[in-house]
């Protein structure tokens, strides 16, 4: 846990939402429309009402259903799925294919998707090469490194080498080097 961070719920049971009202309706239509029912008010635990409701639905879904929801999701739905991966029961529901969702998000140029993909689930499951590339892409795209859950713990010599090269390229072009890169360039 990073300094100043609130204690985050570990499972959907701790989120404090009830989605029983949606039982029996097609998930493919309930999931995208849920904000219009539950709103997006903050629950005070780091989750909004719609994010929490979506997480709850995911915990009850099969791995194939989760993959399909992600495949057809708009950006808000994709963000909710990526965020929910940090919850134990959602992690279990998604199974081995969770990393494919991360990879899809990391391929985009949308900083919101990139940052959310690099949450605790990525720290646990993304392989070293993919993690390094994703971090470098964050630097490139302007996602603050403070948003990357796996840093500084997963920073290794090769990542520091990549960051140093990036900084050198920036300096050669007469462009500024992002401040949050500095701690990785020393020593």
């Amino acid at each position: 846990m990073k300094p100043g961070e609130v204690q985050r719920p570990g499972t959907t049971a701790a989120l404090g939402v009830d989605v029983s009202a949606f039982a029996g309706r097609p998930l493919a239509e309930v999931f995208p429309a849920i904000t219009r029912t539950v709103g997006k008010g903050a629950l005070g635990n780091g989750w909004s009402a719609d994010e929490a409701a979506r997480a709850k639905l995911l915990a009850q879904a099969s791995a194939a259903e989760i993959a399909e929801l992600y495949r057809y999701g708009d950006t808000t739905e994709k963000l909710a799925i990526l965020k929910a991966l940090e919850l134990e029961d959602v992690e279990q529901a998604v199974g081995a294919q969770g990393t494919a969702l991360l990879e899809d998000a990391i391929r985009t140029n949308d900083q919101r998707l990139l940052a959310t993909a690099l949450g605790p689930y990525a720290t646990r499951h993304l392989n070293t090469e993919a993690f390094r590339q994703a971090v470098l892409k964050c630097v490139f795209a302007g996602v603050p490194l403070a948003a990357v859950h796996g840093l500084p713990a997963r920073a290794d010599d090769e990542l520091r080498r990549m960051m140093a090269d990036f900084a050198a390229e920036r300096r050669a072009a007469g462009r500024s080097v992002p401040l949050d890169l500095q701690p990785y360039l020393e020593g």
Binding site: E29, D74, K78, T108, A141, G142
Partner: protein
């Protein structure tokens, strides 16, 4: 002058266009799903296109402080290709999305039996998802096509106030005005309508239930035709308030019927304070 372009195909436009639109007062727009010039041959091509309309394109628009919504449908041109018919099966997924504010563009191109079926099926979807409908009228045989369009809408039971019949001109406007449907006009550099002809129609029919769009796409078109029409209205003696009604309040009222129009934040969706979102788009 604040502008809501109710019909523009931003997928085909550049970031220069977004910048120019923002500089001329465009704060919100609706991008209808239509055809792309090059015919598609599989459902997958449509799905990727729909994904762009609810994913990448709103992101691109937000970088210029422009709010992007879309409409989703199987367009009448490609409704005639049996390889594309199964697009109808994926529509419910998309019609449930927050950013989708109408079913469209539907209607007629060549008025074939296939177009009849697909049009009717999508009017039923509009009822099921309680969405307004954006109806394209054919470029050829327009008057007959418009009459037939209004008949089909009437038979469907979709209330007239939930329907905009688009690409109208001097010949087709009267019938749509009498039907109770909204009247849509696409202002083009050469064809369809121009700003001065639009002003004459506004003088004859008033400023209510009228939507003015640029319909800019991959052809010869101009995303600032909405602005040009506003200027032409002022030059002809319309008030600032008249212009605001036509270019902002009318589209807000029409698409607002979806209950999904979100204009709360017409500014760029900054993910992180102090970071330029533009940088990532170029990466």
């Amino acid at each position: 002058m604040r502008i809501f372009d109710p019909h523009i195909h931003m997928t085909s436009r550049t970031t220069d266009d977004y910048a120019a639109m923002a500089a001329h007062g465009v704060r919100a727009l609706v991008e209808p799903a239509f055809w792309l010039g090059q015919p598609r041959t599989s459902v997958g091509s449509f799905v990727d296109y729909f994904d762009a309309l609810i994913g990448w394109e709103p992101f691109r628009a937000s970088q210029f402080g422009i709010r992007h919504h879309c409409t989703i449908a199987l367009n009448p041109k490609e409704a005639n290709d049996p390889r594309c018919r199964e697009v109808l099966d994926v529509l419910p997924r998309y019609l449930a999305k927050d950013g989708v504010v109408a079913v469209g563009e539907v209607g007629y191109d060549s008025m074939t039996p296939e177009e009849d079926e697909v049009f009717a099926a999508q009017l039923e979807l509009a009822k099921r998802f309680e969405l307004p409908v954006l109806v394209h009228t054919p470029h050829r045989d327009k008057a007959a096509g418009t009459t037939r369009t209004l008949d089909v809408v009437r038979e469907s039971g979709v209330p007239a106030e939930l329907v905009v019949v688009d690409h109208l001109n001097e010949v087709t406007v009267k019938e749509v005005a009498d039907s109770g449907c909204w009247m849509g006009f696409s202002i083009y550099p050469d064809t369809k309508m121009d700003p001065d002809r639009m002003v004459v129609i506004l003088q004859q029919f008033g400023t209510e239930r009228i939507l003015v769009n640029s319909a800019a796409d991959w052809g010869t078109s101009d995303p600032l035709r909405t602005y040009a029409t506003g200027q032409a209205m002022l030059a002809a003696g319309f008030t600032e308030d008249d212009v605001d009604q036509v270019l902002w309040r009318n589209p807000v009222a029409f698409y607002g019927q979806s209950g999904r129009l979100d204009l709360s934040d017409a500014a760029a969706e900054d993910t992180f304070a102090g970071n330029s979102i533009l940088r990532g788009a170029r990466s």
